[in-house]
């Protein structure tokens, strides 16, 4: 059969197709589900439930969003896979013989992303700002520091008391160090962060998205293999898995309810170790919790396993302390001191003169939370009526200690003492009953501070402080939720640093 003569238009069509293919293939490839962004650069596309409202570390505080801020800011220390302090901006440190002075030796030649040098003066400025700035959320964490003396690359910390917790304390949660020049305008810094961390912000849309690129001047830049980061505020939990599947993200905080779907979708689901603990906060300065029997009745009414089963889909565990089981500060002696015993709860209430239905409480929380409904149902079973009140402005009365009854979840702190004082100390931000403090707690904590972390009695001393703290009637710990994440297989595994996300050594590549 004779071949059809070629249309004169065909060569032009073929050439056009080839050009289009050349142009479109890279563009479409970049839109795909791998971690490689346009130009082949490794891009981390992280959607986070803790997108920071504030990028000034002093204002942001030591809560869960420190992980996001740690993209930009470095600290004197960080923690390793055992949760112990290791060098970050400081390459070493040493205590004096008395234990009330510690000197950090900074790495030479480092600079902030605005070109300012990372030296002891910058450390001193960061500490003083955290102690003095009016809207600082870190006041209470730095009470052991009297003053800082700057001597070139040596920052000498004079302490108010013997405290061997300082290297643990001055990690990513409490002392992310900003450029002193940028920090002269804290409001500006809050939306234009300038640090010496592994990445530099190039674009920030408040509350929504941050675009970052690798900081070539970071002290460990050679082990940072991620070129760009796109950090976004997480959408509805039900859409996160779809976003990961379609390549909109390649890394995400994951709600336990979505773990099954994520696994089915071929994503890597993993739990990062951590110190999460949730509690029911009671104000023992207010009725009816000013009667110990009522506070104890709540303890006995709580069925911790129900929280784990219904909220964590098997990824969490019960806890009756401000840490998960297995942590060095977890006190085995105090375990299960108040088992689930509704009959005993009812008996205690009767002894306190309350019949079923007599006590009606408002449980004030910031947003809808199934945990509140579990509390409501468990207390109803012993005759306490709970009305759930959602108050978007919850933080103000909670931290002003005006509430009677609330819920709180902590992601913990690198320093166990910091966790203990935050919950049980007279000024602890998580102690709804301030200035109430359980008897013997202050002395027990001081003893921990005086004990070096490598002392063979450290764990025992720390657990004794936990035991003293747990005499508090103000907190009922319930469960430990998991630090659950999902990632595309193209993102390599992260170091298992407890509660932290360390991007050192992480690679993003094409797995196809």
């Amino acid at each position: 059969m004779p071949r059809r003569p070629r249309s004169p238009g065909r060569p032009r069509t073929a050439a056009l197709s080839a050009v289009l293919a050349l142009l479109l293939v890279p563009v479409l490839a970049a839109c795909g589900g791998t971690g490689a962004a346009a130009g082949g650069a490794a891009t981390l596309k992280w959607t986070s439930t803790y997108f920071p409202a504030h990028w000034d570390p002093v204002v942001s505080g030591s809560g869960a969003q420190f992980r996001e801020l740690a993209l930009v800011y470095a600290s004197l220390t960080r923690v390793d896979e055992k949760g112990e302090a290791v060098p970050d901006l400081a390459e070493s440190w040493e205590y004096d013989d008395e234990g009330d002075e510690i000197t950090f030796h900074l790495r030479p030649g480092l600079k902030f992303s605005d070109g300012e040098p990372v030296d002891a003066a910058a450390v001193k400025a960061a500490v003083e700002r955290a102690q003095r700035q009016q809207n600082s959320a870190l006041h209470g964490d730095l009470t052991s520091i009297e003053s800082v003396e700057a001597d070139g690359l040596d920052a000498v910390f004079h302490l108010t008391q013997v405290d061997y917790q300082i290297p643990q304390l001055l990690g990513e949660r409490v002392l992310q160090i900003a450029s002193p020049k940028a920090a002269k305008s804290p409001a500006e810094l809050d939306q234009n962060p300038v640090g010496a961390g592994p990445f530099v912000i190039t674009q920030l849309i408040p509350g929504t998205k941050a675009v970052l690129e690798k900081n070539p001047d970071y002290w460990d830049a050679e082990h940072i293999h991620i070129e760009n980061v796109e950090l976004t505020s997480a959408p509805d939990t039900s859409t996160v898995v779809s976003g990961l599947r379609t390549g909109v993200y390649n890394f995400a905080d994951l709600d336990p309810s979505q773990a099954g779907s994520a696994k089915k979708a071929g994503l890597d689901v993993f739990v990062q170790p951590g110190y999460n603990a949730s509690n029911i906060s009671l104000n023992v300065n207010k009725a009816p919790f000013d009667d110990d029997r009522v506070a104890d009745a709540v303890r006995y009414a709580v069925n911790r396993q129900e929280f784990v089963d219904k909220l964590t889909f098997g990824y969490g565990e019960t806890t009756d302390q401000p840490f998960p089981k297995g942590y060095v500060a977890y006190d085995p002696e105090s375990e299960n001191a108040y088992p689930h015993d509704p009959a005993k709860a009812r008996k205690l209430l009767a002894e306190a003169g309350h019949r079923a239905g007599d006590i009606e409480l408002d449980l004030v929380i910031p947003a809808e939370d199934p945990a509140a409904e579990i509390v409501q149902s468990q207390l109803a079973a012993v005759g306490i009526t709970v009305n759930i009140k959602i108050d978007k402005n919850w933080a103000t009365p909670f931290f002003a200690k005006d509430l009677t009854f609330s819920l709180y979840s902590t992601t913990g702190r690198d320093s166990a003492v910091q966790t203990l004082t935050a919950h049980f100390g007279p000024d602890g931000p998580l102690n709804l009953s301030s200035p109430y403090e359980p008897a013997g707690f202050e002395a027990a904590v001081a003893e921990v501070r005086r004990t070096p972390l490598d002392d063979p009695h450290y764990a025992e001393t720390l657990q004794a402080a936990t035991r003293a703290g747990l005499r508090s009637k103000a907190l009922v710990f319930t469960y430990s939720s998991p630090n659950l994440f999902a990632k595309s297989p193209s993102v390599s595994g992260l170091p298992k640093n407890p509660a932290h996300l360390n991007w050192t050594g992480v690679t993003i590549g094409d797995t196809r």
Binding site: S257, K310, Q376, S377
Partner: protein
């Protein structure tokens, strides 16, 4: 008018659906097979004899929660529509008779209210006055009121220019008498259309707010709240959002269908349509369908 609406299939369907929803609102909590607030260990269970629609994330019976949640949704939607009716229709009629100043003020007010997005405004009001559906729905009703204002005003203007009303005015009849005698019957049909439509809109607004967790305190069930809760567990129960979504959808559709039916049977054109339908249905009537009634009516 009810009889005329019921003579249309769409009217009968809409009224049936809305009646059922009203019954759910009245009797829903009593019909619920289980305590809608009682949690159990049977979390995210599938459909079974014990739980016709399964259970939610806290082990509560979904059907019971759906039935118990009807009242909030229905009352919220009615609150929007009734508020809008009172705040909109009455000034709409009066703007024709109470002088230029009243007319100017109410028109500007209506223009202003139209410019405000009601969902956003309702959220702002809740933030200001505290979490409660009543105040949010009242405010939403006020924001929807310009629709009633314009409909009622337009109908009143048409009647006011008719010779018999002008004659009544010249004869010195009081405004109240004119409104009752001549205006009310002409204004009622378009206002009824707007009301039915607004009930549907009200359902959407109530469901949207409760979907966002605004307006009611947990664990009170609502259709929107159930939908939001179920969407979080698509991996475990992908079919779970269907029931609340369908209920919202069908109710809104019924409201709109009723509005269409009222519009179809209103005025002379509607009456003519019904006459023509009646003629077609009468036994022995043959021949081609009568021509559609021209607008303006057949006398």
């Amino acid at each position: 008018m009810v009889r005329r609406v019921l003579s249309l299939t769409s009217g009968r369907v809409a009224m049936t659906v809305l009646l059922l929803v009203a019954l759910l609102a009245a009797l829903g909590p009593l019909l619920a097979p289980q305590d809608p607030l009682a949690t159990s260990d049977d979390v995210l269970a599938g459909i079974s004899g014990g739980h016709w629609l399964g259970t939610d994330n806290l082990g509560r019976d979904e059907l019971s929660r759906l039935l118990a949640g009807s009242r909030v949704s229905v009352l919220g939607a009615l609150e929007v529509a009734l508020t809008a009716l009172v705040v909109g229709a009455v000034p709409g009629i009066l703007s024709v008779y109470l002088g230029r100043a009243f007319e100017w003020v109410t028109l500007r007010l209506a223009d202003t209210l139209v410019a405000l997005p009601f969902l956003l405004f309702a959220v702002a009001v809740i933030a200001l006055l505290g979490n409660g559906l009543t105040q949010a729905m009242l405010v939403t009703g006020v924001l929807v009121a310009p629709l009633f204002y314009r409909v009622a005003r337009a109908a009143t203007l048409t009647v006011a220019r008719s010779p018999y009303v002008e004659a009544a005015v010249i004869a010195g009849a009081p405004v109240g008498w004119i409104v009752r005698r001549h205006v009310r019957s002409k204004v009622l049909p378009p206002v009824a259309v707007a009301f039915a439509q607004t009930v549907g809109t009200g359902f959407v607004i109530v469901s949207s707010l409760t979907f966002l967790g605004i307006g009611v305190q947990p664990p009170e069930p609502t259709w929107g709240g159930l939908l939001a809760s179920d969407l979080g567990y698509l991996g475990q129960k992908p079919w779970a959002p269907v029931a609340p979504a369908l209920l919202i959808m069908v109710t809104v559709w019924a409201g709109n269908l009723l509005a269409d039916a009222i519009r179809d049977v209103s005025g002379e054109a509607g009456r003519a349509l019904l006459r023509s339908r009646g003629a077609r249905r009468r036994p022995g009537t043959t021949g081609p369908d009568p021509a559609p009634a021209p607008s303006g009516g057949v006398r």
